[in-house]
Amino acid sequence: MQELFQLIVSGLATGGVFASLALALVLIYNAMGIVNFAQGEMAMFATFIAFTLISRGISYWIAVPVTLVIAFGGGIAIQRLVIRPVERAPVLTLVIITLGLATLINGLAGVLFGYIPRAFDSPFPPSSYGVFGVYVGYQDLGVIAMSGVVLLAVYLLLQRTTVGLTMRAASHHPEASRLLGVSVSWMLALGWGLAAAVGAVSGIMVAPVLLLEPDMMQTTIIYAFAAAVLGGIESPLGAVVGGLVVGVTVNLVGVYVPFVGGDLQLAVALAIIVAVLVIRPNGLFGRASSRRV
């Protein structure tokens, strides 16, 4: 029972990482109807920026916000320079461009920062906090708290501010939004900026666990895909719930199903993707899409 509880808490911590990255995917999916395959690489690159700042002696709690601002600007720059010129291209073209972007960012990180895995120090103590015989790592608690703050911030931005309102309107009804004076193109750029910043948080949170190197996010992004699909690829709330469910499930299955163990955990994520697409293609929170013909 104690073990189960501990596994759930550490699953929620990994789930928080997945949730942030999945939320980033959803933000871009809502803005332009495609899955951004470069999301993980963008997060990895941002994590290298944080690492560089921290290794120059800047405090973690200053380096992280600075990194998020840089990531936000970088996301906007990518949308303006790379995506916008091909905005009206077919979906497949856009998807290929994000794949190219992923390769490009991965290579760039290799050239700039090298391929040697680096230890990324966590600001949280490695010890655990025990109540009633259940030990919960401060690292896990810290990650859960950080993802909670990020997700809440995104929620408040989208639901409670005018900018958030215009972003939501622009993503669902671009034509009508333009007629109301919304600069749809800039809303898309803002979506990319926001996604880049939210994704960066996932990279920064997962780096102490995985070691920082250019391929760091390549499995995490698969879990994030699973989370986003499970929640319904259009639903920010779904991404969060999906992330937590995937995190906990993978953790529990890894321990309690000997056949899966640590090696086949990624296959669990893929199984979730396939199962959702077959059984409930709109995910847990997605609305059934219909079109009048």
Binding site: T166, R168, E175, S177, R178, G181, V182
Partner: protein, 237 residues
């Protein structure tokens, strides 16, 4: 008299298909003008040209300034509210959020509150349903929401694309009554596209009849109403 909106020899179309072949028309400050004609005559395209939704050549001026090469959002920020065909309601959002979207560029709180009061006086049903999803509204209520949202933009000109479409006659009456009030009391100029020529001519003072992308007839609304041959050949009643 200088016109608030002026179109001169406007050609427009979609890709290789041209729809407008030199349309010229004027809407005076605070005026009410109908744009009538059969399906496919180019009424909607004319409105879309004005707000930059379709590629056009020729000359369009609003408030004495040309609208050429301006984006849709720049044009509407100059003071044109365009209620498109199908009303353009954001059905994922609540009624309140749709209204906020109309007002999102405005900052003057006292002024804005007055406009909200006015809008809710016109359409009490919207106040009752503020918190509901816009998708739960009936067709008539969605048209009311579209008009309310357009009013909150504080426009000088409203472009209305078939506000009567798909609505019961009694609802159409009520909505046109409010359009008249908006025009007369709030001094908002109206360019009204309608299939229902009879009710449009009652509202407007001047009218244009489009036929295959050209202005076939124009004149005072009362005059067109009284002219039986025009009514028969172009207006179908």
């Amino acid at each position: 008299m200088s016109a608030l909106l002026e179109l001169e020899g406007v050609h427009a179309g979609y890709g290789p298909t041209s729809v407008l072949h030199g349309v010229s028309l004027e809407v005076p400050e605070g005026g009410a003008v109908s744009l009538l004609g059969a399906n496919g005559a180019g009424k909607t395209t004319t409105l879309r040209a004005i707000t930059g939704g379709v590629h056009w050549t020729g000359n369009i001026q609003f408030d004495g300034r040309p609208l050429h090469r301006m984006s849709t959002e720049q044009i509407v920020r100059r003071g044109i509210a365009h209620v498109p065909e199908g009303r353009g309601i954001c059905t994922e959002l609540t009624v309140d959020e749709n209204l906020k979207l109309g007002a999102h560029r405005r900052h003057n709180d006292a002024d804005l509150r007055k406009d909200y009061d006015r809008v809710f006086a016109y359409f009490p049903v919207l106040k009752e349903r503020r918190r509901l999803s816009a998708s739960t509204l009936s067709g008539g209520e969605q048209q009311m929401l579209a008009l309310a949202r357009a009013l909150l933009m504080k426009p000088r000109l409203m472009l209305l694309d078939e506000p009567s479409l798909g609505l019961a006659p009694i609802v159409v009456r009520a909505i046109f009554e409010i359009i008249r009030t908006i025009n007369r009391e709030n001094k908002v100029a109206v360019l009204l596209v309608e299939q229902n020529a009879r009710i449009a001519l009652e509202l407007s003072s001047h009218a244009y009849v489009l036929e295959v992308g050209r202005v076939a007839v124009e004149g005072e609304s009362a005059e067109l109403q009284g002219n039986e041959s025009v009514r028969r050949s172009y207006l179908g009643y």
